[in-house]
Protein backbone atom coordinates (compact mmCIF):
# COMPACT_ATOMS: atom_id res chain seq x y z
CA UNK A 1 0.00 0.00 0.00
CA UNK A 2 1.14 3.47 -0.81
CA UNK A 3 1.67 5.25 2.50
CA UNK A 4 0.73 8.93 2.37
CA UNK A 5 1.42 9.22 6.07
CA UNK A 6 5.13 8.44 5.50
CA UNK A 7 5.31 11.42 3.20
CA UNK A 8 3.39 13.71 5.53
CA UNK A 9 5.46 12.68 8.55
CA UNK A 10 8.76 13.18 6.80
CA UNK A 11 7.89 16.24 4.79
CA UNK A 12 9.39 18.65 7.35
CA UNK A 13 12.76 16.86 7.06
CA UNK A 14 12.62 16.87 3.27
CA UNK A 15 11.77 20.57 3.21
CA UNK A 16 14.54 21.24 5.71
CA UNK A 17 17.01 19.54 3.35
CA UNK A 18 15.48 21.34 0.36
CA UNK A 19 16.85 24.54 1.89
CA UNK A 20 20.36 23.26 1.20
CA UNK A 21 19.44 22.25 -2.32
CA UNK A 22 18.20 25.79 -2.89
CA UNK A 23 21.19 27.32 -1.12
CA UNK A 24 23.79 25.35 -3.08
CA UNK A 25 22.12 25.75 -6.47
CA UNK A 26 21.12 29.37 -5.84
CA UNK A 27 24.58 30.49 -4.78
CA UNK A 28 26.09 28.32 -7.51
CA UNK A 29 23.89 30.07 -10.07
CA UNK A 30 24.87 33.51 -8.81
CA UNK A 31 28.56 32.67 -8.90
CA UNK A 32 28.15 30.94 -12.27
CA UNK A 33 26.42 33.94 -13.85
CA UNK A 34 28.96 36.48 -12.63
CA UNK A 35 31.93 34.28 -13.51
CA UNK A 36 30.27 33.28 -16.77
CA UNK A 37 29.95 36.90 -17.93
CA UNK A 38 33.57 37.59 -17.01
CA UNK A 39 34.72 34.42 -18.80
CA UNK A 40 32.67 35.23 -21.88
CA UNK A 41 34.16 38.71 -22.14
CA UNK A 42 37.63 37.23 -21.61
CA UNK A 43 36.97 34.58 -24.25
CA UNK A 44 36.02 37.28 -26.78
CA UNK A 45 38.95 39.51 -25.83
CA UNK A 46 41.19 40.52 -28.72
CA UNK A 47 44.18 39.94 -26.42
CA UNK A 48 45.29 36.42 -27.29
CA UNK A 49 46.54 35.15 -23.93
CA UNK A 50 43.41 36.28 -22.08
CA UNK A 51 41.18 34.53 -24.59
CA UNK A 52 43.43 31.44 -24.38
CA UNK A 53 43.16 31.23 -20.59
CA UNK A 54 39.37 31.52 -20.78
CA UNK A 55 39.26 28.77 -23.41
CA UNK A 56 41.43 26.52 -21.22
CA UNK A 57 39.16 27.17 -18.26
CA UNK A 58 36.09 26.22 -20.26
CA UNK A 59 37.77 23.04 -21.55
CA UNK A 60 38.68 21.88 -18.05
CA UNK A 61 35.43 22.61 -16.25
CA UNK A 62 33.34 21.27 -19.08
CA UNK A 63 35.54 18.26 -19.63
CA UNK A 64 35.77 16.85 -16.10
CA UNK A 65 32.64 15.38 -14.44
CA UNK A 66 31.23 17.62 -11.74
CA UNK A 67 31.32 14.77 -9.23
CA UNK A 68 35.06 14.41 -9.79
CA UNK A 69 35.47 18.18 -9.47
CA UNK A 70 33.56 18.11 -6.18
CA UNK A 71 35.70 15.28 -4.79
CA UNK A 72 38.86 17.05 -5.98
CA UNK A 73 37.82 20.25 -4.18
CA UNK A 74 36.88 18.26 -1.10
CA UNK A 75 40.17 16.35 -0.83
CA UNK A 76 42.62 18.59 -2.66
CA UNK A 77 41.99 21.94 -0.98
CA UNK A 78 42.62 20.69 2.60
CA UNK A 79 45.74 18.84 1.43
CA UNK A 80 47.27 22.17 0.39
CA UNK A 81 46.19 23.78 3.63
CA UNK A 82 43.08 25.53 2.39
CA UNK A 83 40.44 24.81 4.94
CA UNK A 84 36.98 25.78 3.77
CA UNK A 85 33.72 24.23 4.97
CA UNK A 86 32.32 21.55 2.60
CA UNK A 87 29.27 23.71 1.88
CA UNK A 88 31.42 26.47 0.40
CA UNK A 89 33.59 24.01 -1.47
CA UNK A 90 30.41 22.61 -3.01
CA UNK A 91 29.00 26.03 -3.92
CA UNK A 92 32.31 27.02 -5.52
CA UNK A 93 32.58 23.78 -7.49
CA UNK A 94 29.06 24.10 -8.84
CA UNK A 95 29.50 27.80 -9.59
CA UNK A 96 32.86 27.39 -11.33
CA UNK A 97 31.53 24.55 -13.46
CA UNK A 98 28.31 26.39 -14.36
CA UNK A 99 30.40 29.42 -15.33
CA UNK A 100 32.02 27.42 -18.13
CA UNK A 101 28.66 26.50 -19.63
CA UNK A 102 27.12 29.93 -19.11
CA UNK A 103 30.13 31.62 -20.73
CA UNK A 104 29.64 29.51 -23.85
CA UNK A 105 25.89 30.14 -23.91
CA UNK A 106 26.50 33.90 -23.74
CA UNK A 107 29.29 33.74 -26.31
CA UNK A 108 27.03 31.91 -28.75
CA UNK A 109 24.30 34.51 -28.24
CA UNK A 110 26.68 37.43 -28.77
CA UNK A 111 28.00 35.88 -31.97
CA UNK A 112 24.39 35.51 -33.14
CA UNK A 113 23.82 39.28 -32.96
CA UNK A 114 24.49 40.52 -36.51
CA UNK A 115 27.71 42.49 -36.96
CA UNK A 116 25.82 45.42 -38.48
CA UNK A 117 24.20 46.13 -35.11
CA UNK A 118 27.47 47.22 -33.51
CA UNK A 119 28.62 48.79 -36.76
CA UNK A 120 25.61 51.12 -36.91
CA UNK A 121 26.35 52.23 -33.35
CA UNK A 122 30.06 52.71 -34.03
CA UNK A 123 29.28 54.79 -37.11
CA UNK A 124 27.29 57.14 -34.88
CA UNK A 125 30.33 57.62 -32.66
CA UNK A 126 29.13 55.44 -29.78
CA UNK A 127 31.63 54.30 -27.16
CA UNK A 128 32.36 50.53 -27.20
CA UNK A 129 31.19 50.21 -23.60
CA UNK A 130 27.86 51.81 -24.52
CA UNK A 131 27.57 49.54 -27.55
CA UNK A 132 27.94 46.49 -25.31
CA UNK A 133 25.54 47.80 -22.70
CA UNK A 134 22.81 49.23 -24.90
CA UNK A 135 22.98 47.29 -28.15
CA UNK A 136 24.71 43.89 -27.82
CA UNK A 137 23.93 42.58 -24.32
CA UNK A 138 20.15 43.28 -24.43
CA UNK A 139 19.90 41.33 -27.68
CA UNK A 140 22.24 38.54 -26.54
CA UNK A 141 20.25 38.16 -23.32
CA UNK A 142 17.06 37.55 -25.26
CA UNK A 143 18.75 35.06 -27.57
CA UNK A 144 20.35 33.17 -24.68
CA UNK A 145 17.33 33.11 -22.36
CA UNK A 146 16.04 29.60 -23.27
CA UNK A 147 19.51 28.04 -22.96
CA UNK A 148 20.20 29.96 -19.78
CA UNK A 149 17.01 28.73 -18.10
CA UNK A 150 17.91 25.22 -19.26
CA UNK A 151 21.30 25.55 -17.60
CA UNK A 152 19.83 26.85 -14.35
CA UNK A 153 17.36 23.95 -14.17
CA UNK A 154 20.28 21.61 -14.80
CA UNK A 155 22.07 23.19 -11.84
CA UNK A 156 19.23 22.44 -9.43
CA UNK A 157 19.29 18.79 -10.43
CA UNK A 158 23.05 18.56 -10.41
CA UNK A 159 23.10 19.92 -6.85
CA UNK A 160 22.15 16.39 -5.75
CA UNK A 161 25.79 15.47 -6.39
CA UNK A 162 27.01 17.53 -3.45
CA UNK A 163 25.72 14.82 -1.13
CA UNK A 164 28.96 13.06 -2.07
CA UNK A 165 30.89 15.55 0.04
CA UNK A 166 28.63 15.16 3.02
CA UNK A 167 26.04 17.88 2.53
CA UNK A 168 22.59 16.69 3.44
CA UNK A 169 20.46 18.18 0.70
CA UNK A 170 17.20 16.84 -0.68
CA UNK A 171 18.56 13.70 -2.37
CA UNK A 172 20.81 12.71 0.54
CA UNK A 173 18.01 13.27 3.03
CA UNK A 174 15.67 11.13 0.91
CA UNK A 175 18.20 8.30 0.96
CA UNK A 176 18.49 8.46 4.77
CA UNK A 177 14.75 8.56 5.34
CA UNK A 178 14.16 5.70 2.88
CA UNK A 179 16.70 3.59 4.72
CA UNK A 180 15.10 4.35 8.07
CA UNK A 181 11.46 3.92 7.03
CA UNK A 182 11.82 1.18 4.38
CA UNK A 183 9.54 3.37 2.23
CA UNK A 184 11.79 4.42 -0.68
CA UNK A 185 8.98 4.73 -3.21
CA UNK A 186 6.99 7.29 -1.22
CA UNK A 187 10.02 9.29 -0.22
CA UNK A 188 11.54 9.46 -3.70
CA UNK A 189 8.19 10.42 -5.21
CA UNK A 190 8.01 13.25 -2.69
CA UNK A 191 11.58 14.30 -3.53
CA UNK A 192 10.82 14.20 -7.24
CA UNK A 193 7.77 16.37 -6.68
CA UNK A 194 9.82 18.94 -4.78
CA UNK A 195 12.47 19.10 -7.53
CA UNK A 196 9.72 19.43 -10.11
CA UNK A 197 8.07 22.32 -8.25
CA UNK A 198 11.38 24.20 -8.01
CA UNK A 199 12.16 23.74 -11.67
CA UNK A 200 8.66 24.57 -12.89
CA UNK A 201 8.96 27.81 -10.93
CA UNK A 202 12.31 28.50 -12.60
CA UNK A 203 10.90 27.74 -16.04
CA UNK A 204 7.93 30.04 -15.36
CA UNK A 205 10.28 32.79 -14.26
CA UNK A 206 12.31 32.31 -17.43
CA UNK A 207 9.21 32.49 -19.57
CA UNK A 208 8.10 35.70 -17.89
CA UNK A 209 11.57 37.17 -18.46
CA UNK A 210 11.52 36.10 -22.10
CA UNK A 211 8.20 37.86 -22.53
CA UNK A 212 9.55 41.03 -20.98
CA UNK A 213 12.55 40.95 -23.31
CA UNK A 214 10.34 40.37 -26.32
CA UNK A 215 10.06 42.96 -29.06
Amino acid sequence: MFSWSTIVENLPYLLQATRFTLLVSGLGMGLGLVMGIVLCVARLSPIRWISRIAALYVSFFRGVPLLVQLLLAYYFLPSVGIDIPPLWAAVCSIGLCAAAYIAEILRGALIAVPHGQAEAAAALGMHPFTIWKRILIPQALKISMPSLVNELIMLVKVSSLVSAVGIVELTRMSQSISAATFRPLEIYIAAAAIYLVINLALAGLGQALEKRLDY
Binding site: G116, A120, L124, G125, Y215
Partner: protein
Protein backbone atom coordinates in the same frame (compact mmCIF):
# COMPACT_ATOMS: atom_id res chain seq x y z
CA UNK B 1 23.86 76.20 -47.34
CA UNK B 2 27.44 77.13 -46.45
CA UNK B 3 30.32 74.78 -45.94
CA UNK B 4 30.01 75.32 -42.19
CA UNK B 5 27.46 72.54 -42.02
CA UNK B 6 28.62 70.52 -45.02
CA UNK B 7 31.97 68.73 -45.14
CA UNK B 8 34.24 68.23 -48.09
CA UNK B 9 36.15 64.99 -48.55
CA UNK B 10 39.51 64.57 -50.23
CA UNK B 11 40.64 61.04 -51.05
CA UNK B 12 44.27 60.74 -52.13
CA UNK B 13 46.23 57.70 -53.30
CA UNK B 14 43.94 55.46 -51.22
CA UNK B 15 44.93 51.80 -51.10
CA UNK B 16 43.13 49.02 -49.27
CA UNK B 17 44.09 45.36 -48.91
CA UNK B 18 42.26 42.35 -47.49
CA UNK B 19 45.35 40.28 -46.73
CA UNK B 20 46.81 39.83 -50.22
CA UNK B 21 43.68 40.95 -52.09
CA UNK B 22 44.08 44.51 -53.41
CA UNK B 23 40.55 45.87 -52.92
CA UNK B 24 41.17 49.56 -53.68
CA UNK B 25 43.98 50.74 -55.91
CA UNK B 26 45.31 54.29 -55.77
CA UNK B 27 41.95 56.04 -55.54
CA UNK B 28 41.96 59.82 -55.96
CA UNK B 29 38.60 61.53 -55.57
CA UNK B 30 37.38 64.96 -54.49
CA UNK B 31 33.96 65.20 -52.89
CA UNK B 32 32.97 68.87 -52.73
CA UNK B 33 30.95 70.27 -49.84
CA UNK B 34 27.21 70.35 -50.32
CA UNK B 35 27.28 68.15 -53.41
CA UNK B 36 25.98 64.66 -54.11
CA UNK B 37 28.48 62.08 -55.30
CA UNK B 38 27.20 58.71 -56.50
CA UNK B 39 29.49 55.68 -56.61
CA UNK B 40 28.54 53.14 -59.26
CA UNK B 41 30.12 50.05 -60.73
CA UNK B 42 29.75 46.27 -60.93
CA UNK B 43 29.47 44.31 -57.67
CA UNK B 44 32.84 43.59 -56.15
CA UNK B 45 34.29 46.72 -57.72
CA UNK B 46 35.05 48.22 -54.31
CA UNK B 47 32.45 50.98 -54.14
CA UNK B 48 31.09 49.92 -50.74
CA UNK B 49 34.62 49.43 -49.46
CA UNK B 50 35.53 52.93 -50.61
CA UNK B 51 32.45 54.35 -48.89
CA UNK B 52 33.32 52.52 -45.67
CA UNK B 53 36.85 53.92 -45.74
CA UNK B 54 35.37 57.43 -45.53
CA UNK B 55 34.21 56.86 -41.93
CA UNK B 56 36.99 54.35 -41.28
CA UNK B 57 34.66 51.38 -40.75
CA UNK B 58 37.22 49.86 -43.09
CA UNK B 59 40.85 50.54 -42.30
CA UNK B 60 43.00 51.50 -45.25
CA UNK B 61 46.69 50.85 -45.72
CA UNK B 62 47.82 53.49 -48.19
CA UNK B 63 47.06 57.14 -48.83
CA UNK B 64 44.43 59.02 -46.89
CA UNK B 65 40.84 60.14 -46.58
CA UNK B 66 40.66 63.72 -45.37
CA UNK B 67 37.45 65.28 -44.11
CA UNK B 68 37.64 69.07 -44.04
CA UNK B 69 41.42 68.73 -44.17
CA UNK B 70 41.56 66.27 -41.26
CA UNK B 71 42.80 62.73 -41.95
CA UNK B 72 40.34 60.14 -40.60
CA UNK B 73 41.59 57.04 -38.82
CA UNK B 74 45.25 58.01 -38.85
CA UNK B 75 47.14 60.65 -36.90
CA UNK B 76 48.58 61.92 -40.20
CA UNK B 77 49.00 60.69 -43.77
CA UNK B 78 50.82 57.35 -43.50
CA UNK B 79 50.97 57.79 -39.71
CA UNK B 80 49.84 55.71 -36.76
CA UNK B 81 46.18 54.91 -36.09
CA UNK B 82 44.37 57.78 -34.43
CA UNK B 83 42.98 57.34 -30.91
CA UNK B 84 39.58 55.65 -30.64
CA UNK B 85 38.28 58.74 -28.90
CA UNK B 86 39.32 61.06 -31.70
CA UNK B 87 37.80 58.70 -34.29
CA UNK B 88 34.50 58.72 -32.40
CA UNK B 89 34.53 62.51 -32.39
CA UNK B 90 35.04 62.59 -36.16
CA UNK B 91 32.30 60.01 -36.74
CA UNK B 92 29.76 62.15 -34.89
CA UNK B 93 29.51 64.45 -37.89
CA UNK B 94 29.32 61.62 -40.44
CA UNK B 95 25.99 59.86 -40.86
CA UNK B 96 25.75 56.42 -42.39
CA UNK B 97 22.87 54.42 -43.85
CA UNK B 98 23.33 50.70 -44.49
CA UNK B 99 21.94 48.31 -47.05
CA UNK B 100 20.44 46.13 -44.31
CA UNK B 101 19.17 49.15 -42.29
CA UNK B 102 20.79 47.82 -39.10
CA UNK B 103 18.06 49.19 -36.89
CA UNK B 104 18.23 47.96 -33.32
CA UNK B 105 15.32 45.51 -33.03
CA UNK B 106 14.86 45.91 -29.28
CA UNK B 107 14.08 49.62 -29.56
CA UNK B 108 11.11 51.47 -31.04
CA UNK B 109 11.60 53.74 -34.05
CA UNK B 110 11.84 56.74 -31.76
CA UNK B 111 14.26 55.01 -29.39
CA UNK B 112 16.44 54.03 -32.35
CA UNK B 113 16.71 57.68 -33.35
CA UNK B 114 17.05 59.03 -29.81
CA UNK B 115 19.70 56.54 -28.62
CA UNK B 116 22.78 58.26 -30.02
CA UNK B 117 21.39 61.69 -29.22
CA UNK B 118 21.46 60.66 -25.55
CA UNK B 119 24.53 58.41 -25.50
CA UNK B 120 26.76 60.37 -27.87
CA UNK B 121 25.52 63.96 -27.87
CA UNK B 122 24.52 63.90 -24.21
CA UNK B 123 21.03 65.32 -24.70
CA UNK B 124 18.42 64.78 -22.00
CA UNK B 125 15.96 61.98 -22.69
CA UNK B 126 13.10 64.43 -23.17
CA UNK B 127 15.05 66.60 -25.57
CA UNK B 128 16.27 63.55 -27.51
CA UNK B 129 12.74 62.15 -27.76
CA UNK B 130 11.48 65.48 -29.08
CA UNK B 131 14.26 65.66 -31.67
CA UNK B 132 13.72 62.01 -32.65
CA UNK B 133 10.01 62.59 -33.18
CA UNK B 134 10.80 65.59 -35.37
CA UNK B 135 13.32 63.57 -37.41
CA UNK B 136 10.76 60.79 -37.93
CA UNK B 137 8.16 63.37 -38.93
CA UNK B 138 10.59 64.64 -41.54
CA UNK B 139 10.92 61.22 -43.20
CA UNK B 140 7.14 60.80 -43.17
CA UNK B 141 6.94 58.43 -40.18
CA UNK B 142 5.44 60.76 -37.59
CA UNK B 143 2.81 58.13 -36.84
CA UNK B 144 5.26 55.25 -36.37
CA UNK B 145 7.32 56.55 -33.44
CA UNK B 146 6.26 53.73 -31.10
CA UNK B 147 6.59 50.91 -33.64
CA UNK B 148 9.32 48.32 -33.33
CA UNK B 149 11.38 47.68 -36.49
CA UNK B 150 9.83 44.25 -37.09
CA UNK B 151 6.44 45.97 -37.42
CA UNK B 152 7.69 48.24 -40.21
CA UNK B 153 8.09 47.60 -43.93
CA UNK B 154 11.60 47.63 -45.41
CA UNK B 155 11.06 51.10 -46.82
CA UNK B 156 9.85 52.38 -43.47
CA UNK B 157 12.79 50.75 -41.69
CA UNK B 158 15.24 52.39 -44.03
CA UNK B 159 13.57 55.75 -43.49
CA UNK B 160 13.93 55.29 -39.71
CA UNK B 161 17.62 54.51 -40.32
CA UNK B 162 17.94 57.72 -42.32
CA UNK B 163 16.21 59.67 -39.54
CA UNK B 164 18.62 58.10 -37.03
CA UNK B 165 21.59 59.39 -38.99
CA UNK B 166 20.13 62.78 -39.87
CA UNK B 167 19.02 63.55 -36.30
CA UNK B 168 22.72 63.79 -35.37
CA UNK B 169 22.97 66.75 -37.76
CA UNK B 170 25.88 65.31 -39.73
CA UNK B 171 27.91 67.37 -42.18
CA UNK B 172 28.35 64.36 -44.41
CA UNK B 173 26.02 61.47 -45.19
CA UNK B 174 27.13 58.09 -46.49
CA UNK B 175 24.59 55.76 -48.10
CA UNK B 176 25.64 52.16 -48.73
CA UNK B 177 23.21 50.75 -51.32
CA UNK B 178 20.23 52.14 -49.38
CA UNK B 179 17.59 50.55 -51.63
CA UNK B 180 19.23 47.26 -52.62
CA UNK B 181 17.48 45.22 -49.91
CA UNK B 182 14.04 46.67 -50.68
CA UNK B 183 11.14 45.30 -52.66
CA UNK B 184 10.88 47.28 -55.91
CA UNK B 185 7.68 49.05 -54.90
CA UNK B 186 9.34 50.41 -51.74
CA UNK B 187 12.40 51.88 -53.44
CA UNK B 188 10.67 55.11 -54.44
CA UNK B 189 9.76 56.29 -50.94
CA UNK B 190 13.37 55.94 -49.76
CA UNK B 191 14.82 57.67 -52.82
CA UNK B 192 12.37 60.55 -52.33
CA UNK B 193 13.62 61.07 -48.77
CA UNK B 194 17.24 61.02 -49.94
CA UNK B 195 16.43 63.46 -52.73
CA UNK B 196 14.82 65.86 -50.25
CA UNK B 197 17.90 65.71 -48.04
CA UNK B 198 20.13 66.38 -51.02
CA UNK B 199 18.20 69.54 -51.82
CA UNK B 200 19.07 70.84 -48.34
CA UNK B 201 22.71 71.04 -49.33
CA UNK B 202 24.18 68.24 -47.22
CA UNK B 203 27.30 66.56 -48.61
CA UNK B 204 26.31 63.07 -49.69
CA UNK B 205 28.10 60.02 -50.96
CA UNK B 206 25.76 57.34 -52.27
CA UNK B 207 26.64 53.85 -53.42
CA UNK B 208 23.79 52.83 -55.67
CA UNK B 209 22.57 50.55 -58.43
CA UNK B 210 19.72 52.95 -59.25
CA UNK B 211 21.16 54.58 -62.36
CA UNK B 212 18.08 56.75 -62.98
CA UNK B 213 18.34 58.11 -59.45
CA UNK B 214 22.07 58.73 -59.81
CA UNK B 215 21.56 60.53 -63.12
CA UNK B 216 18.87 62.68 -61.56
CA UNK B 217 20.31 63.58 -58.17
CA UNK B 218 24.10 63.38 -58.49
CA UNK B 219 26.40 66.32 -59.07
CA UNK B 220 29.13 63.87 -59.97
CA UNK B 221 29.24 60.14 -60.61
CA UNK B 222 32.29 58.01 -59.89
CA UNK B 223 32.60 54.70 -61.71
CA UNK B 224 34.70 51.98 -60.11
CA UNK B 225 35.81 48.66 -61.47
CA UNK B 226 38.10 46.03 -59.96
CA UNK B 227 39.21 48.41 -57.22
CA UNK B 228 40.09 51.23 -59.59
CA UNK B 229 38.41 54.57 -60.05
CA UNK B 230 37.82 54.57 -63.80
CA UNK B 231 36.19 57.96 -64.08
CA UNK B 232 34.55 60.68 -62.07
CA UNK B 233 32.43 63.13 -64.03
CA UNK B 234 29.05 64.86 -64.13
CA UNK B 235 26.21 62.36 -64.64
CA UNK B 236 25.44 63.60 -68.15
CA UNK B 237 28.93 62.67 -69.23
CA UNK B 238 28.99 59.27 -67.55
CA UNK B 239 25.53 58.20 -68.69
CA UNK B 240 25.21 59.88 -72.09
CA UNK B 241 28.74 59.99 -73.33
CA UNK B 242 30.97 57.55 -71.43
CA UNK B 243 34.60 57.91 -72.33
CA UNK B 244 35.67 54.48 -71.17
CA UNK B 245 34.72 51.13 -72.70
CA UNK B 246 34.28 49.62 -69.22
CA UNK B 247 31.58 52.16 -68.35
CA UNK B 248 29.85 51.50 -71.67
CA UNK B 249 29.87 47.75 -71.05
CA UNK B 250 28.51 48.19 -67.52
CA UNK B 251 25.67 50.47 -68.65
CA UNK B 252 24.80 48.10 -71.49
CA UNK B 253 24.34 45.15 -69.11
CA UNK B 254 22.35 47.43 -66.82
CA UNK B 255 20.02 48.49 -69.61
CA UNK B 256 19.72 44.94 -70.92
CA UNK B 257 18.67 43.74 -67.46
CA UNK B 258 16.02 46.44 -67.12
CA UNK B 259 14.35 45.73 -70.45
CA UNK B 260 11.34 43.54 -70.75
Amino acid sequence: MTSENASSVEITALGKYYNSFHALKNINLSIPAGKVTCLIGPSGSGKSTLLRCINFLEEYQEGAVEIDGQVIGLESVGGRKMSARRLREMRRSIGMVFQQFNLWPHMTAQQNVAEALVQVQGLSKAEAARKAAAALQKVGLGDKTESFPNRLSGGQQQRVAIARAVAMEPKLMLFDEPTSALDPELVGEVLTVIKDLASEGMTMVIVTHEMGFAAHVADQVAFLEAGELVSCAPPAEIFRNPSDARIKAFLETYHARNQF
